[in-house]
């Protein structure tokens, strides 16, 4: 079980968090202008890298805030945790 550092509450057990998948996937500006294929990309397709992955988490059983993290999907280790709106930090896995 991971110990995940909520940017506000500090380190808490993994069970307090909810995984939100890939980070930085913006809702399209104008969905109506997209082709079916482009829209499908937004709705269903997410990266699935083996290695560093920027993803979203919510501290659902704590402060209920969403935040972002870069985590290595091979080792599961969190490489960085950052607040929404901040840019993905450069971290080596």
């Amino acid at each position: 079980m991971q110990l995940i550092r909520c940017p506000w509450c500090g380190p808490r057990e993994e069970v307090e968090f909810h995984y939100g998948g890939q980070a930085h996937v913006a809702y399209p500006d104008d969905p109506a202008a997209l082709t079916d294929e482009q829209w499908a990309r937004y709705v269903f397709f997410r990266d699935n890298p083996k290695g560093a992955f920027a993803e979203r988490w919510s501290h659902s059983a704590g402060c209920r805030r969403w935040f972002n993290a870069v985590r290595d999907t091979r080792t599961y280790r969190f490489l960085a945790v950052y607040k929404p709106g901040e840019a993905r930090p450069e971290v080596a896995s």
């Binding site: 110990l3 909810h18 109506a32 079916d36 829209w39 919510s58 209920r64 080792t75 599961y76």
Partner: protein, 930 residues
């Protein structure tokens, strides 16, 4: 055999126990294994496939063979006799490969405990004790765990540390640790798994050793969940057996284990002893066993015995046959115990040495399980002939024998972690061992995994079959998959495979170490999450009232909701027909408090709602209510409910009971991650408000009677409006929302007052026959009106259009979540499944929910499968209002097919049913205003 002057058992007291139906005695401090050996019982059970006799092969958890079934005090399968502490009245039997589960539930308690420490030390041998002491002296919070009943690890008591007997050293350290308030020292506690971020799980045996005195209030076993800043693995090493022919007999033990049995329990496991070794440590066993009265011969694989030990042996008249190997054994009839060792001398000559104990040492395997659980890599160490931790891991230190350091001085030094280590007085210097994994002989009698009956022949076959990896060999031979998980056989299997393949063992590696280190009872892991504590039960403020009223409850997620309130003699059907009739003809009342409620506040509240609902919410007037549907980006309905506009900048969003938490999370996710610029705040008020729909043509009387200030006329208080009033000074919000088509008022009040307001409503409605009704009646009433239940009439593949709710999908809004998906090819198909009504044409048959709908079969029989399906029945009830059963169904192109008769297979019958509109009662909507 028990020898005087040895052992730390309490010989002043006697314990009685039964094994394989016979009675024996032992002493406090014994294990079942030591007591059996003391009583001369060597055969414990038989092997899994070959049925060969099996005895005790080690003194603790690395034993591969001494498996027993405990029958009393409570049946427990497959325990090692070496780890079962003897208690009075214990009943056990030997096993032949499989354990037996009890037939009755285990009533013992199990629980968990969380810990946070700076340093966790696993193993209270010399290395671990010092590591814990050093951390304690640094003022850290420390946990020290050890799986044995007493601390000290493999110190036998014969060693001298800092000039004193080693047991005194142990006692001193333990006493010092006890003076540190922030040190937790737990014996009988096995760290069984290491996970990320310093998380270690350990199982403590708390009461079994207390026997009949065990307090029932205490948990029998406890899982400690430890978060450690630093983990010191000081778990020691397992002695390694050597593979030779017939190496599986009772009476063949690891050498250090034989010695351990002597010093711990005063048990001499044999009188005529052959010690077979290529490693120095076994000489200590030879010497101690000889001193205790055994006749000992050492078979030394190396050309020369180490000088120190050669002298010690000579002093005691112990012959040392150098350059010799044990190539096989003979066994006694009866219990199959070893009776002789067949020795090949340096000159190749064979000698048969009679013996009743063959003590073997092939060297040591560091106990690196915990290190590698989180994928710490192991490296082959040629000097050890084994694998040891091969990299540095953050937050982990490996010390002592676990690190491959075998001399006591080295263990003390590594444990002391920088403090001045105590001295290991008189410890002879270790000389290089001979790495002997296997002695040539008949492959099919050379056991590698003694528990799985797997031999060198099996490995040879695997290799011959084309297997080139340790993992394949494991799976082909099953080596390492038994109860002991290859603690002693794993390295041997790799070594022998490598030998047969002609590759270096380091290329082959080991198979993977996986938690748990030793087996853990399921119940211990379940902890207290059993029975009614298995999962939270959620109840409303009225629960006690419902129970008192005889409600039959339904599980809705974690909630307990009244499903119906049977009167004496009523079954569900009768109760529901009565409740339905009462609502349609008079007035009923429901506890709707479980509905999800979300307070949406802020300047941009309406903007948010416009984005998440398919219809428009921003143009809702204050004081009014609107029904809305939410979809996922894929356009499928995820929830529905009403929205109350409380103020320009404030709404209450009502969700389904099941959707409450999910929808709040959903909205938060959008607000926080996608639209942080929106000035809006969300808060759950699900439990703030108790909600009681008062429903039926007479509901107005009830409401006006209780809330005299409220003008309940249709003009003053129209459908889909809400009004605030109060009751004895308590604010009450009443909303005209109807989920049944009837005139209805939903009474909302601070849940503090829920029982009081409910009672008042009942009293106010008494003369109108107000009838409490449950979820089943609610479902019938809404189904009669064609109102879907999300999750029952939908399944994540249904759009609002499919539900006939195109009217709730805004055409004006440029976008909302899900809108873009509606124009995908699949979603514009006229043959999509649509929600319709279904009336069995015989007007009698209630079609089971879930039934499939097929085309009408003119000849009255189904065609051969696959039979094309048109859809399925989502809801089905008997209707008091219609006087017949009816159903809702999702049917392909259903709305175009109203009037068609289709078939519904029910059991072996085909039930004809007519497709109708989904609204069956009061399609004109005349009843909602009373």
């Amino acid at each position: 055999m028990r020898v005087d002057g040895y052992g730390r058992i309490d010989r002043s007291r006697t314990l009685g126990f039964t094994f394989d139906g016979r009675s024996y005695t032992g002493h406090p401090g014994d294990t079942l294994a030591s007591a059996l050996l003391a009583n001369g019982v060597h055969r414990i059970g038989s092997s899994v496939t070959l049925g060969r006799p099996r005895g005790i092969s080690a003194a603790w958890s690395e034993d591969a063979t001494g498996l027993v079934q405990v029958e009393e005090p409570f049946p427990e399968p497959m325990l090692l006799a070496t780890t079962v502490e003897l208690v009075d009245g214990l009943v056990a039997r030997g096993l032949g490969g499989q354990g037996r589960l009890a037939e009755v539930a285990d009533t013992a308690r199990y629980d968990r405990m969380h810990h946070h420490v700076d340093t966790l030390v696993v193993g209270a041998g010399p290395a671990g004790l010092l590591a814990a002491r050093a951390a304690a002296r640094r003022g850290e919070r420390v946990a020290l765990l050890d799986d044995r009943p007493e601390p000290g690890g493999s110190l036998t008591g014969t060693e001298r540390i800092d000039g004193r007997p080693s047991r005194e050293f142990v006692a001193d350290v333990v006493a010092e640790l006890a003076t540190h308030p922030e040190v937790a020292h737990l014996q009988r506690t096995t760290a069984f798994g290491r996970y990320d971020d310093g998380f270690v799980l350990a199982l403590q045996h708390r009461t079994d050793h207390l026997g009949a005195d065990a307090p029932r209030t205490l948990s029998r076993q406890r899982v400690h969940r430890i978060r450690a800043g630093r983990t010191v693995i000081a778990t020691g090493a397992h002695e390694r057996p050597i593979v030779f022919a017939d190496n599986d007999r009772p009476g063949i033990l690891l050498a250090a284990s034989a010695r351990d049995l002597l010093h711990r329990y005063g048990v001499l496991a044999g009188r005529e002893v052959v010690v077979f070794t290529g490693d120095d440590a076994a000489y200590a066993a030879a010497v101690d066993l000889a001193d205790a009265g055994a006749a000992v011969t050492v078979v030394e694989a190396r050309p020369q015995a180490p000088a120190h030990w050669a002298g010690a042996a000579a002093d005691r008249g112990i012959p040392v046959l150098t350059g010799s190997l044990v190539a096989g054994t003979e066994g006694a009839p009866g219990d199959g115990r070893v009776s002789a060792a067949v020795v090949t001398g340096a000159d190749g000559a064979r000698t048969v040495l009679g013996c009743d104990l063959l003590a073997v040492s092939g060297g040591w395997n560091p106990t690196a399980h915990l290190f590698s659980h989180v994928r710490g890599t192991l490296a082959y160490d040629p000097a050890l002939g084994a694998f040891r931790p091969g990299e540095d891991l953050d937050g982990v230190a490996v010390v002592g024998a676990a690190n491959g350091t075998l001399d006591l001085a080295g263990c003390l030094r590594e444990g002391a972690s920088g403090e001045r280590p105590p001295s290991a007085d008189g410890e002879p210097e270790r000389t290089p061992g001979a790495i002997v994994w296997r002695v040539e002989g008949p492959h099919d009698r050379q056991f590698v995994d003694v528990q799985r009956d797997a031999t060198v022949a099996d490995i040879a076959r695997a290799v011959g079959a084309g297997m080139r990896s340790a993992e394949h060999v494991k799976r082909y031979t099953t080596i390492g998959t038994a109860h002991d998980q290859g603690k002693t056989s794993g390295v041997l299997a790799s070594a022998i495979t490598a030998e047969l393949l002609g590759v270096p063992i380091e290329d082959l590696g080991t198979t993977t170490f996986r938690p748990p280190y030793t087996p853990v009872a399921f119940a211990a892991l379940a902890g207290r999450e059993r029975g009614q504590l298995f999962d939270p039960v959620r109840t409303t403020a009225l629960h006690a009232w419902h129970v008192g009223a005889g409600a039959v409850f339904e599980d809705v997620g974690q909630w307990k909701r009244p499903r119906y309130y049977p009167r004496p003699g009523e079954d569900m059907e009768a109760a529901v027909l009565r409740e339905c009739a009462a609502v349609r003809d008079g007035v009923g009342i429901l506890d709707g408090s479980t509905l999800g409620k979300i307070d949406v506040q802020g300047r941009d509240a309406a903007v948010l709602l416009d984005r998440v609902y398919t219809n428009m919410m921003s143009n809702l007037a204050v004081g009014r209510v609107r029904y809305g549907v939410m979809c996922g980006p894929d356009g499928m309905v995820i929830d529905d409910g009403t929205v109350l506009r409380l103020a320009e900048d404030r709404f209450t969003v009502i969700t389904t009971t099941g959707g409450a938490a999910k929808i709040l999370d959903w909205l938060e996710e959008w607000v926080q991650t996608e639209w942080p610029d929106l000035r809006v705040h969300l808060a759950s008020v699900t439990e703030q408000w108790a909600v009681f729909p008062v429903v039926g043509p007479r509901s107005r009387h009830v409401i006006s009677r209780l809330f005299a200030d409220l003008d309940v006329s249709n003009d003053a208080f129209g459908f889909m409006c809400w009004r605030d009033t109060e009751l004895d000074g308590v604010p009450v919000r009443v909303a005209r929302i109807s989920f049944s088509g009837e005139l209805a008022y939903e009474v909302n009040v601070n849940a503090w007052y829920a029982p009081a307001v409910w009672e008042r409503l009942l009293a106010a409605g008494e003369k109108h026959g107000i009838t409490p009704y449950g979820t089943e009646t609610m479902h019938v009433l809404r189904a009669e009106k064609g109102y879907p239940i999300i999750g029952q009439d939908t399944d994540g593949t249904v759009t609002p259009h499919d539900l006939g709710m195109a009217w709730a999908v805004s055409k004006k809004k440029s976008d909302f979540i899900g809108k873009r998906s509606f124009s995908r090819a699949e979603n514009t198909d006229p043959l999509r499944k649509q929600l319709v009504g279904l009336l069995p044409t015989d007007a009698r048959t209630k079609i089971p929910e879930g039934s499939q709908v097929v085309e009408f079969c003119p000849d009255g029989a189904l065609p051969a499968p696959p039979v094309p399906m048109l859809g399925h029945v989502t809801s089905s009830y008997r209707s008091a209002a219609l006087g017949r059963p009816f159903a809702l169904a999702l049917v392909k192109g259903g709305r175009q097919r109203v009037g068609d008769v289709v078939h519904v297979p029910v059991g072996d019958a085909l039930v004809p049913a007519e497709i109708t509109s989904s609204v069956l009662v009061d399609p004109e909507g005349n009843r909602r205003d009373g």
